[in-house]
């Protein structure tokens, strides 16, 4: 069984710490996505699990075996690189079967396995070609076939889709997800595309500056962000933030804005407290004037996104945006009223940035 267990992982390049004391548990069969801004240490973490990078401290276990000091080839993991890293001097078939041939697996056993992965990934007619004669998407599939044929305990992907165009990305994303549902191999997938992470992951590990900011299902990350950083990072259009002061009865007030907060979610808030409110554009919509939790603003810009549109408004001199299907009737300069339900309002400590939601 291939659960992954990382304890107190530290990594520094010279005096420059990249990962500082990271603990991570990944259960067997899970599809985990490392998500985070550029330079937060996602690739470094993945490469340490792969064995391509040494840890400066801490232990890594895969399937109950301590692999910290094992070379990459003995960890039972397979990796798909961002650049695909296909062997240019070998045919596609040789690329895929290299690992097995190297282990001395017999031809008779390799042939059916090659046939099977080639079939799954639609590579049958390309097996005799050289990698450079394939399109980006086909090369991507070869890289995946090469990882799959070894039936590893763990799949590692480092931004495997970032060199592809949007359409193909979406298609391969679905394919990878479907493949995982079938094979159930524990998988770690690195990306800095939050939409990719949300759609593909069982669990998201959101990283920031070499630390885990939050770990949870896509829903948890989206609906219950543990910090302002997470809330800001996840979701398009990005969340609006408003600094407000609490009044009795869990009312947050900031200028003309007056919002009722959820008693169930935030029982520990006190009147007079300064808080930072997080309002997701997608959770707000147009409403009649005078409705509960209504905000009133002047339309500054309307962005057409097809089925819906993002409306950017000015409320008390600050910009707040929301998403609505009724954007076509709005034009710049209009006064609009929009509302958000109490349970969709996030509240953060303005100093620490942590969420004030009860656990």
């Amino acid at each position: 069984m291939a659960h992954i267990h990382c304890t107190d992982i530290v990594k520094s390049y010279g005096a420059h710490p990249v990962i500082s004391g990271l603990n991570l548990d990944i259960p067997n069969h899970e599809f985990v996505v490392f998500l985070g801004p550029s330079g937060c240490g996602k690739s470094t973490m993945l490469r340490m699990i792969a064995g391509l990078e040494e840890v400066s401290g801490g232990r890594i276990e895969i399937g109950g075996t301590d692999v910290t000091d094992l070379p990459p080839g003995e960890r039972g993991v397979a990796m798909v690189f961002q650049s695909y890293a296909l062997y240019p001097h070998m045919s596609v078939a040789d690329n895929i079967t290299f690992g097995l041939r190297r282990q001395g697996v017999s031809k008779a056993e390799i042939a059916p396995r090659l046939k099977q992965v080639a079939e799954v990934l639609g590579l049958e007619q390309f097996l005799d070609r050289r990698p450079k004669n394939l399109s980006g998407g086909q090369q991507q599939r070869v890289a995946m076939a090469r990882a799959m044929i070894k039936t590893p305990k763990v799949f590692l992907f480092d931004e495997p889709l970032s060199n592809l165009d949007a359409k193909l990305r979406e298609k391969l994303r679905t394919e990878i997800r479907r493949m995982h549902l079938k094979l159930k191999t524990t998988t770690i997938f690195v990306t800095h595309d939050q939409l990719e992470a949300m759609t593909i992951a069982d669990r998201i590990v959101l990283m920031r500056d070499g630390m885990i900011e939050q770990m949870g299902t896509p829903d948890e990350i989206f609906e219950r962000p543990a910090s302002r950083f997470v809330a800001d990072f996840i979701g398009t259009p990005a969340m609006n933030f408003v600094t407000a002061t609490l009044e009795a009865g869990l009312i947050a007030r900031s200028g003309s804005i007056k919002l009722q907060l959820s008693e169930a979610e935030f029982p520990s808030l006190n009147p007079g407290q300064e808080v930072e409110l997080g309002l997701r554009p997608a959770r707000m919509d147009l409403c009649a004037p005078g409705s509960a939790n209504a905000l009133t603003g002047e339309v500054v810009l309307v962005e057409n996104m097809g089925a819906e549109g993002q409306v950017i408004t000015e409320v008390d001199g600050a910009e707040i945006s929301f998403v609505t299907q009724g954007f076509r009737d709005l034009s710049i300069g209009d006064t609009v009223h929009f509302t958000i339900r109490p349970e969709h309002i996030h509240v953060f400590d303005p100093k620490t940035g942590r969420s004030l939601r009860k656990d």
Partner: protein, 271 residues
């Protein structure tokens, strides 16, 4: 119509350039098969009765025959050892010692700045003391300075162009460092390395000064060829031409062999 004229003109120009470039070489080759009286005629002869006498003269002449043999031994040995030591060194520099790589690269290159004359005289003294003056071993030793440094200098960029990811992907499949080098880095860098080896080969094959100063009996072909002119009163043009052809031939054969070797190497993964 205009297109036809321009094509014809381009072709003609190209042909002219080829004649200018290859003319002297062809003339030398032709001369190698001519008798002396056919060469020294005031009107150049294109139609003549070919003769192998010149080659026979050369190959029967022990000095020239030995010179050829010495050249082949000295140059192949020094290029071979240079490659065996220089190529892995270059890979290490390119991959594992990037920090010092530039300094080492410069040091290696600086070996080539030095005019051979500067080391020739001290080497005579040292070689006489060591008892390896006028030996093939001594020549090989001094040529190794040239071959190792040139191979390293040219091979480091060749290995730097091999994508790091590919070596890592190979490591993920269980290949150790030596296997990664042998099966991936080397074949992928091979085309550039091939150029480096040919360049090195030609460099030492044509070397005259050190060969002249460090060997007497065991002279190499360039030394012998240079001294042919003083063989007799009459300049033996045919013989000189034939010697030139012999001098040019080995590098060509060498290039052919290397190419074949590389082609097979690049194709083979594990069976």
């Amino acid at each position: 119509m205009g297109k036809l004229i321009s094509t014809t003109l381009t072709r003609a120009l190209l042909g002219l350039l080829i004649i200018v470039a290859l003319g002297p070489i062809l003339w030398t080759v032709l001369g190698a098969f001519k008798e002396l009286r056919d060469i020294v005629t005031p009107v150049p002869k294109l139609i003549f009765e070919p003769t192998l006498d010149n080659f026979a003269t050369i190959l029967r002449n022990p000095t020239i025959r030995d010179g050829l043999l010495h050249s082949v031994i000295v140059v192949s040995a020094s290029v071979l050892v240079g490659a065996v030591l220089g190529i892995p060194a270059a890979h290490t520099l390119a991959r594992h010692a990037r920090r010092w790589g530039d300094d080492v690269q410069f040091f290696v290159l600086s070996l080539r700045f030095m005019p051979p004359v500067a080391i020739a005289i001290p080497f005579i003294v040292i070689y006489l003391d060591l008892g390896i003056y006028d030996t093939l071993f001594g020549l090989i030793l001094v040529y190794l300075i040239t071959t190792i440094s040139t191979v390293i200098w040219l091979a480091v960029p060749a290995f730097e162009r091999v994508p790091h990811d590919i070596e890592e992907a190979a490591a993920m499949e269980g290949c150790g460092p030596a296997e990664v080098f042998w099966r991936f880095s080397l074949p992928l860098a091979a085309p550039s390395l091939f150029g480096a080896l040919v360049f090195t080969f030609v460099l030492v094959w044509n070397e005259l000064l050190l060969a002249l100063t460090l060997a007497a009996q065991n002279a190499t072909l360039p030394v012998v060829a240079a001294s042919i002119t003083s063989l007799g009163k009459e300049v033996p043009w045919g013989v000189i031409n034939a010697a030139t052809v012999l001098l040019v031939l080995p590098p060509l054969v060498f290039i052919g062999l290397l190419m074949g070797l590389l082609n097979t190497m690049v194709r083979s993964g594990p069976k």
